[in-house]
């Protein structure tokens, strides 16, 4: 009964989404206020019904209703309750339903926080989001219905993918989708502006907080995903350039570029066409990411089951949304006159350079991700593109972007003077270069990439402090500086922190694979690891071999780690559960490999010493906090007086 109710709610939501799309857009085109007024209630009702469908599915998962095919495939009676809930979006169908739910959430948020916007703008924005909702709901109902029954019901489910049974996975997908889907707001604003022909500073100001919040969520999602991979995959790495990771990273790069170009459009009225295009690109990449993950055109470690009907539907949808919006862009582009001339050395120019670099980086990731597909489609063989390509291309592109952070935020709008900049920044530059050159010498010897990493991290930190000092010198009190300014500085500091962490861990991590019998020792980075054997350990839905590894330093016992090798009952899938002892300066990471004898006394054990790895997550946290802080700036909340076009 409950699943049928969910199915019914989903159908109702589709009808409401179509209403939300068609009537307000028609009304806006005709100047018909009653039709435009449909936008808000239709959007809220649509969200309500998708929410109802989602609750019905969650209920089926929580009550182990194995007559529902999706539950039978992706859950298991012994699965802990929290994972039974997260299994709701652990499957293809469920994650698409989450997509639709979050889109409904964003639309409702727009309907609530848009009192100060002109009616036709609101009608168009909500209408466009309704079109996107309609596409996704139709996709769910026609190819991916999560409420299909399976009769006769199996005695038990096939269990959730063990890889996803991790605390990081509980919040990673919702965060990621909040970001992905959040870019639909900026997209809808851009399309609405193109439709009305009113592309002005007000448009950019309305889009900015939405874009920044979506970006902050996406950042949180990516950082959590990386943290999950580090904890769960047992390889000690934190980024693998897997197609699925790239699918979320590309919109992030485009979104980062968008945040910066929106600033220019709002403050100076420049780059209008470029900003609109970026808003279209950021969301198009989110859709492309969905397509890549859902359709199975690329093989990836965490792609879901594939089905050509689904792929065809999403591709068709992608063609309509992206193709349609880019056609609209090409058609309307001549109307977008760029205002605000600027010289080659000005904040505008620096931000433009930042945009070019970020988009080049995005394009290189896109190329690397799709290259195997291009080759295969042209019959040139099956290849795979791995981390060496991405590292070789991406790192050199990021270096100028990081350098520009320091310059950009301190350069004056319109026209800056080079000698003046030199006076303000020469000490920062000297100290950064000196740090970069000297720090590696005190560690392991000179290495140019390592030096570059430290130089750039130091450079950003120093320029952030120069920015703060210059503001306070002009009479502002530190705490009364606008939140947007603080948000920017905190995010930039987070980036510096992350870069420092990446550089340190990449150059100084140590790892050893050892064969250990009970009582054997191994040493790494001054730590002594003593293997005290592995014992059988029953989990709720798995059985594990649980190793006990005592870690000591200079003969003093520090802590004990319990790495596990799990075999999940329903799927028989083995999983490595690494044991990690983290602190601010380093992680000690132990993963249990395979038993090397029949009595399971001797084990292959892998130990890692990961210096400063946690700086990555701390840096990520700073980016997120900075984003939310900037979006909450007072300026975005005060009513904007109607601006005559």
């Amino acid at each position: 009964m409950i699943p049928e109710l969910g199915h019914f709610a989903l159908i109702t939501a589709l009808i409401l989404a179509l209403t939300q799309a068609i009537l307000p857009l028609w009304g806006a085109a005709r100047g018909h206020t009653t039709l435009m007024a449909v936008a808000r209630p239709a959007a809220q009702a649509q969200f309500l019904f998708v929410g109802m469908a989602f609750s019905c599915l969650a209920y089926a998962f929580l009550t182990n209703d194995f007559t529902v095919e999706n539950v039978a495939r992706n859950s298991f009676s012994q699965l802990p309750e929290i994972y039974r809930f997260t299994a709701t979006w652990g499957s293809h169908e469920g994650s698409m339903l989450l997509w639709a739910l979050i889109l409904g959430f964003w639309t409702t948020a727009v309907s609530l926080f848009s009192r100060h916007l002109p009616d036709d703008m609101v009608a168009r924005v909500i209408g466009i989001m309704g079109l996107i909702s309609s596409g996704f709901l139709a996709f769910l109902l026609t190819t991916s219905n999560p409420f299909l029954r399976l009769l006769p019901a199996p005695a038990d489910g096939r269990d959730m993918n063990p890889l996803l049974q991790d605390p990081g996975m509980v919040i990673h997908p919702p965060m990621l989708y909040m970001g992905y889907v959040g870019f639909s707001v900026a997209f809808a604003f851009a399309i609405a502006a193109l439709m009305s022909g009113k592309l002005d500073a007000a448009w950019a100001r309305w889009s900015r907080p939405w874009t920044t919040v979506a970006w902050a969520f996406l950042t949180a999602g990516i950082v959590l995903g990386s943290w999950w991979a580090y904890n769960e995959l047992g390889w000690g790495g934190w980024w693998f350039w897997d197609p699925t990771e790239n699918a979320s990273f590309m919109p992030w790069l485009a979104g980062t570029a968008l945040i910066h170009s929106l600033a220019v459009t709002e403050k100076r009225g420049a780059f209008k066409a470029w900003t609109v295009l970026l808003a279209l690109i950021a969301f198009s990449l989110s859709l492309l990411g969905t397509f890549l993950v859902r359709s199975g055109v690329l093989s990836s470690v965490h792609a879901f089951a594939t089905d050509p009907a689904r792929g065809s539907f999403i591709l068709g949808f992608l063609a309509v949304v992206v193709g349609g919006s880019l056609t609209l862009y090409a058609w309307r582009a001549p109307k977008m006159l760029s205002g605000g001339a600027f010289s080659w050395f000005s904040r505008e120019a620096m931000l433009l350079a930042n945009n070019v670099v970020l988009l080049a980086a995005m394009a290189s990731v896109l190329l690397g991700t799709l290259y195997p597909l291009f080759m295969d489609a042209m019959g040139l063989g099956k290849i795979s593109v791995g981390p060496p390509y991405f590292n070789a291309v991406f790192v050199p592109l990021m270096a100028p972007a990081l350098f520009l952070i320091g310059v950009g935020s301190l350069t004056r709008w319109k026209e800056a003077s080079l000698p003046d900049m030199w006076t303000r920044l020469k000490w920062a530059l000297a100290i950064s270069v000196a740090t970069g050159l000297l720090l590696p010498l005190t560690l392991k010897g000179f290495n140019p990439w390592e030096s570059l990493g430290y130089t750039l991290a130091m450079w950003i930190v120093l320029t952030v402090f120069i920015g703060l000092r210059e503001r306070t010198r002009r009479g502002a009190r530190l705490l009364s500086l606008p939140r947007a300014f603080w948000g920017m500085q905190i995010a930039h500091l987070g980036l510096a922190w992350g870069v420092a962490g990446i550089t340190l861990v990449a150059n100084h991590q140590l790892e050893r694979d050892v064969r250990m019998n009970v009582g054997d020792h191994a040493t790494l980075a001054g730590y002594t690891f003593t293997f005290q054997g592995a014992t059988e350990f029953p989990g709720p839905n798995y059985r594990a071999a649980r190793g006990t590894v005592e870690v000591s330093q200079n003969g003093k016992k520090l802590f004990t780690l319990y790495p596990e090798k799990r075999i999940y009952n329903a799927s028989g899938m083995p999983m490595t559960e690494a044991a990690i002892h983290p602190n601010f300066f380093r992680d000690v990471y132990v993963a249990l490999g395979e038993p090397l004898d029949s009595e399971a006394k001797t084990w292959a054990v892998r130990v890692f010493y990961k210096p400063f790895i946690n700086w990555l997550w701390i840096g990520g946290l700073f980016l997120v906090v900075g984003g939310f802080l900037a979006a909450s700036d007072r300026r975005y909340r005060i009513a904007v007086k109607p601006i005559k076009a």
Partner: protein, 173 residues
């Protein structure tokens, strides 16, 4: 003209993506195809004193199905294999891979065995020789002991009809 560039780029991309839908990235050509099936000699499940090797199948077109009692997809595949065994189109040898819990014999007794022989690869070494990436995987081997095809994942009626059966006909099974 500049303003049409984003659309053009997208259209080219969409064309490739459309083509990509009909390609299978998992279908990595196995380097073993066209090569002789690696030799091995393993005891049979239930008859540990008997030794089986690919040479025993000379003169026949046969299937080497790599499976394991702990593998869920293999159970899904099992009824399909049972039906195939009854149709007698080609003998199926079931390589029992890494069966540490020693469950294969019991399982086959309970559910029936589609296999002409079940060599026992406890250490998983033979699986490595054949480049097994996971279970189930099935190799089509011809009368001269040459590997002609490899299928990754469970065989379902569709795969059988469109992929494996035509190959068997071609090889004159």
């Amino acid at each position: 003209m500049k303003r049409w560039i984003p659309l053009l780029v997208f259209l080219v991309l969409a064309g490739f993506l459309a083509k990509g839908l009909f390609l299978n990235p998992r279908e990595v050509p196995s380097p073993f195809i066209g090569k002789p099936a690696p030799a091995f000699s393993l005891p049979l499940v239930g008859q540990p004193d008997k030794i089986f090797g690919p040479a025993d199948m000379r003169g026949k077109v046969w299937l080497l199905n790599v499976w394991a009692p702990w593998c869920v997809s293999c159970r899904q595949e099992h009824p399909v294999l049972m039906a195939l065994a009854q149709s007698q189109s080609a003998p199926i040898v079931g390589l029992n891979w890494k069966d540490k819990d020693r469950e294969a014999e019991k399982l086959l007794a309970e559910h029936g065995s589609p296999y002409a022989a079940v060599p026992d690869d406890l250490s998983g070494k033979v699986g490595i020789d054949y480049g097994v990436t996971g279970t189930p995987e099935t190799y089509v081997i011809d009368k001269d002991g040459i590997i002609r095809m490899k299928h990754i994942g469970p065989i379902d009626p569709d795969v059988w009809k469109n992929k494996i059966e035509p190959k068997l006909k071609e090889l004159g099974a």
